[in-house]
Subunit: 253 residues, 2 copies
């Protein structure tokens, strides 16, 4: 049922660009190109036309076309070389991952995560939490403790502190939805997260809770997350059963 082979020119000319849309033109162009590469319409190794020709073909200016290309380069989908041209490279199954949370990770992996909220209350920040969140001591913060399970086995103990003003949701929302997703829904735009990943052996109590043997290896994670306005949004300390969870991280540049 596959149609006749299409040239790269044909594929690109078929892109539908909507100038009335609030989505920037360069982003629409980039999206179409990413999709065409992912779908195999622009196979690995394809040498694209030069910027000017592509821009004309799509009816946009060269800077707009360039902006779209820069997006693809930073995503590792094409390689550009001066004097040579732009070539499609391996559409590797690199996970795009950047700022995600465990819930997102597990959902994407089809692991059907479930979450038990063990604690959800507003408290006064102690010295440590205040320092991490860049707040005054005794400022109101919400402390959240959750036990995350996958396939009905516990996999992580998670403690999070957030400035009370940011918590526009309730404990029940956390059973179905990840914390990051809830923050995004309230209009927060996350910018960066500084994480420290380490390991240690489990105490008896931790092993019991996570269903691991005593002395089992645990992954530890400490994280401070910042929004695009430079405000600190979250301080988290998590504990993972290392036998059943590992972090996948993609660093770019």
């Amino acid at each position: 049922m596959s149609g006749p082979p299409r040239t790269a020119q044909d594929v690109i000319e078929s892109f539908a660009i909507d100038r009335a849309s609030p989505i920037p033109l360069w982003f629409q162009v980039a999206q179409h190109l990413e999709q065409a590469i992912a779908a195999g319409d622009l196979p690995q190794g394809t040498l694209l036309d030069n910027e000017i020709a592509l821009a004309q073909r799509l009816g946009v200016s060269r800077p707009t076309m360039r902006r779209a290309m820069e997006q693809l380069v930073s995503g590792g989908l094409v390689a550009r070389r001066r004097g040579i041209g732009t070539r499609v490279i391996q559409p590797k199954v690199r996970r795009p991952l950047e700022l995600t949370s465990l819930h997102d990770d597990l959902s994407a992996g089809g692991q059907q995560p479930s979450t038990a909220v063990l604690r959800f209350e507003t408290v006064a920040a102690d010295a440590e939490v205040a320092a991490r969140l860049d707040l005054d001591e005794r400022a109101p913060v919400v402390c959240i403790e959750r036990l995350r399970s996958a396939l009905d086995r516990p996999i992580a103990m998670m403690t999070n502190y957030l400035p009370a003003a940011l918590v526009t949701f309730e404990a029940e929302d956390l059973t179905d939805t990840g914390l990051y997703e809830l923050l995004r829904r309230s209009g927060l735009r996350l910018h960066s997260a500084a994480q420290t990943l380490g390991a240690r052996t489990a105490t008896a109590a931790e092993a019991r809770r996570l269903g691991e043997a005593r002395g089992a290896a645990l992954l530890t994670m400490e994280r401070v997350t910042t929004d695009d306005q430079g405000s600190t949004v979250e301080y988290a300390t998590h504990l993972y059963a290392a036998s059943r969870y590992s972090f996948e991280i993609n660093l770019v540049r």
Copy 2:
């Protein structure tokens, strides 16, 4: 000894832009701004002039000024809001970190790393290595095993596989210089690294080598690194003594 307080305008007008330099103008502008923020000449909370005024003041066009600003935004140094302006935010000591290696990490931390090269030889890729490096089986690869110490105590066992064609250095070079640095010197531009971080307890042999107790927690890291042309450059499996090393990672966006 500090001079009279300078206004943001004064600070910015003092930037020296070199139009003859091969360094792009927008990058020069961004560097000057980053430095001024780091030095406290543009303190946290400063509201900068609008783009057009700044561009005029520095003698560049508005798109060039914008490119510099975008650099600062992605670095988390300023926040921009439409209709409001551009404000300097916390010059937090976020490590810029991106693609670094353990050697760089330790050097930056003043830990005086030393490295013993245990193995450095060209072998035929087995199925696993070939798959990770995207090579044919039995293709020539260089296998490197190193023991990295800090302050004279072993801290990591590192195994790396590289396509033989990329190895333009010798075993001795690795005692003084990190692997990533050597690759960069040979003209390689690294683009992304997919890492998996996990943990497990040490075997007797591993514990002995790393100077840890039997059953101690180890951090494990597996990594595939790619250059800006989409070629796979390195496959690594590392083992860290978790009692003395943890990963610090900055995720952006």
